[in-house]
Symmetry: C2
Subunit: 383 residues, 2 copies
C-alpha cells in the first residue's frame, strides 16, 4: 500500500452519484497548509473550478474534495449552489474554514448532482478520518480510466504522492484531468506555487490525447510540513519525476491508445516555439494514425511542422526529422535502417525528434496514437 504523506488522512466512499463504485474522496490535513493549484482556462469552466479558484487565491488549503462521474458543468446557479453547499458541509465536519477547501468534479456535463443522496452522506461525515491508502483515493477519482494512477517519490525524510485520473475525454462526455499532489515536506507557500507551476507546465500541461480541453481540469498540491524542511532543488526534481511519471501513464491510458508518443522539438527560437511545433505534431490525426499503424511516415511530420505558418523563421531546408535516433529527413534511411525503423515503430513508445535549426529552444510533449478504439468509445456512447 502506498500511504499518504504524513499529516494527511482520507475519506473514500460511494455516495450514489452514478453507480456503486467509490465516487467521493476527501483528503484532509490537520490544519491549513501551503498549497498551489492550476485550473482549466475553459470559458465553460465548471462550478467546482469557479469555487476552487476563489479558495486557492490565498495559497492555503486544508482539504481536497473530489466527486467523480458528474462534472457539475453547465448546471447554472443550481450547480454553483450545490458546489458551495457541499464545501460548507465538509468544512463543518472537518472544523475547517470553507475557504480552505478545494473541490474538483469530473464526469457528465449538464446534469445536477443527486443532492438528496449527497446530503444524506454529508450528514454522516465524521472527522478526523483514519484512511491512509493513496491507492484507494486514486481509485475513487476514476471515471472510465482503465486503472488507478499514482506516483510517489522521497525527498529526504519527506515524500510526495500524486494521484491523477483521466485524460482527453476519458469520461465520454468531456475532457477531465484531475491531479492531486500531497507532500509532508515543509515548504513555503510562495516557493511551492512557483515550483508547482513550473513542473505542471512541463508535465500535465504538455500532454494531449485529442486536442479537446476539459471544462474541469484541476491540478493541486498541499504541503503538510509534517516531515520537516527539504532542499528546494531536490524537492523540485522529485516533484518533476512524480508528475512526469503520471503524465506518461495518462497519455498511455488515453482513450483507445496503444502507444505513448513523445515529441521533442529542439533548435527552436525559444521554448514556446518548440512547444507550439511539438503540439502541432502530437495532435495531428495523421501523425497519430501513422504511429498507430507503425508507419514511419515522416511526410506527415513535415506537414505538421509546415502548418505552424506563423513561425516564418522555420525553413524546411534546415529542419531535421528523426524517429528515435534515426534520421529520416533530409537524410533518408538505407535498407538496414528501414528494418531498424520498422522495429522501432512497432514498439509501445515512439519518440519523434524534430530539430528546427533556428536557435536553442526546446520542449517535449506527450500524447498517444489514434485508434479505432477512440472512435468506438466516443461514437457508441449515447447521452
Amino acid at each position: 500500500m502506498v500511504e499518504l504523506p504524513l499529516g494527511f488522512r482520507a475519506h473514500v466512499a460511494n455516495i450514489g452519484i452514478k453507480d456503486e463504485t467509490d465516487d467521493f474522496v476527501v483528503i484532509a490535513a490537520e490544519r491549513p497548509c501551503p498549497a498551489a493549484a492550476v485550473f482549466t482556462q475553459s470559458l465553460f469552466s465548471g462550478a467546482s473550478v469557479i469555487v476552487s479558484r476563489e479558495h486557492i487565491a490565498d495559497r492555503s488549503l486544508q482539504a481536497f474534495v473530489v466527486i467523480s462521474k458528474n462534472s457539475n458543468v453547465a448546471t447554472g446557479k443550481e450547480g454553483m449552489d450545490n458546489a458551495r453547499e457541499i464545501v460548507t458541509a465538509v468544512a463543518s465536519a472537518l472544523g475547517a474554514a470553507e475557504g480552505d477547501l478545494l473541490i474538483a468534479s469530473t464526469g457528465v456535463i449538464g446534469r445536477q448532482y443527486p443532492m438528496d443522496r449527497v446530503r444524506r452522506h454529508l450528514t454522516s461525515l465524521k472527522a478526523p478520518f483514519v484512511g491512509r491508502d493513496a491507492q484507494a483515493a486514486a481509485r475513487a477519482i476514476m471515471t472510465t480510466d482503465t486503472h488507478p494512477k499514482l506516483a510517489h517519490a522521497s525527498v529526504g525524510k519527506a515524500s510526495i504522492v500524486d494521484i491523477a485520473k483521466g485524460v482527453g475525454m476519458i469520461e465520454p462526455d468531456m475532457a477531465t484531468l484531475i491531479t492531486l499532489f500531497l507532500t509532508d515536506a515543509e515548504i513555503d507557500g510562495e516557493v511551492l506555487d512557483k515550483v508547482f507551476r513550473s513542473v505542471i507546465a512541463r508535465t500535465f500541461n504538455a500532454v494531449s490525447v485529442d486536442t479537446d480541453t476539459s471544462t474541469s481540469d484541476t491540478a493541486a498540491i498541499m504541503a503538510s510540513g509534517a516531515a520537516g524542511p527539504v532542499d528546494e532543488a531536490t524537492f523540485a526534481e522529485a516533484l518533476l519525476d512524480v508528475a512526469l511519471a503520471l503524465t506518461k501513464m495518462i497519455a498511455r491510458d488515453g482513450e483507445g491508445a496503444t502507444k505513448l508518443i513523445e515529441v521533442l522539438v529542439d533548435g527552436a527560437r525559444d521554448d514556446s516555439q518548440a512547444k507550439r511545433v511539438a503540439k502541432s505534431i502530437v495532435n495531428s490525426p495523421l501523425v497519430k494514425t501513422a504511429v498507430h499503424g507503425a508507419d514511419p511516415n515522416w511526410g506527415r511530420v513535415a506537414m505538421a511542422v509546415g502548418k505552424c505558418w506563423d513561425d516564418r523563421d522555420i525553413n524546411q531546408e534546415r529542419v531535421v526529422i528523426r524517429f528515435g535516433e534515426l534520421e529520416v529527413y533530409p537524410q533518408r534511411v538505407d535498407e538496414d535502417g528501414l528494418d531498424q525503423l520498422g522495429k522501432y515503430m512497432s514498439g509501445d513508445t515512439v519518440r519523434i525528434h524534430v530539430s528546427l535549426g533556428v536557435a536553442t529552444g526546446s520542449f517535449i510533449v506527450y500524447g498517444c496514437d489514434l485508434s479505432d478504439g477512440y472512435v468506438r468509445i466516443n461514437a457508441n456512447y449515447t447521452t
Copy 2:
C-alpha cells in the same frame, strides 16, 4: 457531359506517375487571361506551390498543369528543377510564356517524379488541344477521392466550371486540396482577384476534415472572356454557389466520412471570432465522433466553445446551442423533442448552430464526422 467554358481546351493523359489511371491534366486558354489563385500557407510548401506563387503574381495565366499521385513536396533542389522543367516543356508546346502557367501536384511526399516517363510524354505533347470534357479533367486530378468533383453555373451568357479533388488527407500521405475554376466571363483581373478571394474565404477556406493542412493546397481561376461581359454581383453570386457546392461535396467525401457537418456561429463579436469558434467545434474529435454516433451530445459543443479561451467576451450564460432548429442549451428538450432530435442526428447532414450573444458577427464552416474508417485508411497505409 459538362463542357469547359468557351475559350478553354484540355489535355488529359496517363504519364505513369503511379499506375494506369489518368494523372496529368493541362487546361489551356487561347491566350493569357485574367486569373487569381491562393495557396497553402505551409512552411513545407511543395515545389509546385512555390513556382505557381511566382507565376500568379501578375494576375495573368494561360494554363493550369496538374500532376496527381505525387506531390513533389520535400524533394529539395531536384524537385524544384523538375517542376520548372515540366512548366517549360508545356509552355513550349502551347507557345505560351512559362510565367503564364500554374502547376499543382498532389500525392505522396518526399519522392521525385519519374522524370524519364514524364519527359517521354512531354516530348509528344501537341497543342492546340481538342478536349472539352470537364468531367475527364476532374477525374484525372483525383487521388483517393471516391468520385470526381465538379460543379458549374451560368452567369448570363457565360458559365463557371469548378473541378476539385481531395480534402484533409485523401491521399494517405498528405492533405491535398486542389480546386480549379474556369469561366468564359469577361472580367477584369483585379475584380476577379477580389471576388475570388472573398468566395474562397467562405467556402474552401471554411472546410476541414481533420485539422491537418496540406503542403500543396491550390485554388485558382482563369477567365477567358470568350462569352463577353457579365454583371459583377451576379458573377460573384454564381461563383459562391459553385464553390459552396464543391466545398460540401468535399467535406462529405472526407476520409471515412458518413455525414456532412455544418457549424453556424452567430452573435459573435465579429466574423473572425465566429469562424474561430465554429472551427473549434467542427474540428473537435469529440464532437465529430458524437455526430458519427448520432448522439446529440451538446456538452461536447459547450466544451469546444469553452476552449476558445482567448475570447474572454464569451459568457457561458449567454450562449445558446441548437442542433438543427432545436435548442438544447440552456433550454433542454422535452420528451417529444428528444424523438425529433434523435431523428435529426441520424440524418446525413447535421447543422450545429451556436449563438454567442456578444454582437452580430457570423460564419459557417463545413466538416465531417470522424469514423473508424478514417483511422483504418490512415493507419493501415504503409509508406
